[in-house]
Symmetry: C2
Subunit: 138 residues, 2 copies
Amino acid sequence: MSDLLERLRGRGWRMTAQRRVVAEVLDGDHVHLTADEVHARAVTKLPEISRATVYNTLGELVTIGEVLEVSTDKRAKRYDPNAHQPHHHLVCGQCGAIRDVHPVGNPLADLPDTERFGFTVSGVEMTYRGVCPNCATA
Amino acid sequence: MSDLLERLRGRGWRMTAQRRVVAEVLDGDHVHLTADEVHARAVTKLPEISRATVYNTLGELVTIGEVLEVSTDKRAKRYDPNAHQPHHHLVCGQCGAIRDVHPVGNPLADLPDTERFGFTVSGVEMTYRGVCPNCATA
DNA sequence: ATCCTACGATGGACAATGTCTAAGTCAAGC
DNA sequence: GCTTGACTTAGACATTGTCCATCGTAGGAT
C-alpha cells in the first residue's frame, strides 16, 4: 500500500504532512487500529496533528474505499488498511485480538431470495468469534 | 419470550419493577433497539427509571444470553431479543433498517483449519449490507 | 521565485454513548 | 413486620466522535 499516496494524489488530494503521516501509520503494522490509536501514533511523527484531522482523514479514506471500517464489538470503530483484498475477521473474545481470515465459499450466495426482503444486497461481513491460543492457555 | 421473567426468577434475580419494564420493552416489537431507545420506552411505563438501570439490566441480559448485542455500524450498540433462534442481519446502508435473515449453509464450516490460527472458534456473525426497497425507490 | 486562493488543519466546544459511585430503597426470606 | 443485601438512583465522569470559526499552506498562476 506504499502507493497509497500516489493514488490519493491521483484523486486530486492535496498532499499535506498530516495526510502523509496518517497514511504512513496505516501502512505500518497491518493491525486494526482505532481512530485514537492512529492519532497517538501520528502524534509521535507530527506532534501538532489534531484529532479532528485524523478523524477527517480516516473518514475520507473510508469514503473512497482505501480503508475499511470494522465494528467488532469494542466501543471504538477500527480501521483496516487491507481494503483491496476481501477478507473477514476472527476476534478473540478475551483479549480482543483480530486476525484477517478467508473463508471458503461465497456467503452472498447463501442468502436465498426469500430472505432478501426486496433488498439489493451488495456485501457481507463475517465476524468469527472465539478464543485465541494465548488466552486459551492462560 | 414472555417466560423471560420466569427464567430470570429461576436464576435468582430479584424481580423489580424496573427489570420487568425492560423485559416488557424488549418483548414488544421485535426490533433492534439502542440502549437509549429501550430507556425511552421504559420511561413511558415507569417514569422514574434511570439510564444506569437500563444499561445494567441490558448488560446482565446479554451476559446470561437472553439478549444479543448487535454492532452494525451505527454508533450505538443495539439489543436483539431474538437470542434463542440463531440468525444474522441484513442492514440498509441508507436508512439503517435491520432485518433478521437466515442464510443457508453453515458458515462455521467454511473456515478452514489453516485459517483458524489456533483459535477455538465458537460462533460467527454475518452482516449483509444493501439497500432496502424503500430507499431504492426514493 | 513569489503571490493567491481555495482546500485543509487546528483546537476547543459540543454531542452521543456508556460507566462508575455513594447513598437511598425495596424484594424476599425469616 | 423486620432485616439485609441486592437493586436503583442521580449525576459526575469517561470515551468516542462531530462541528465550526479561524488560521495556515499546497500547488497553480504570474
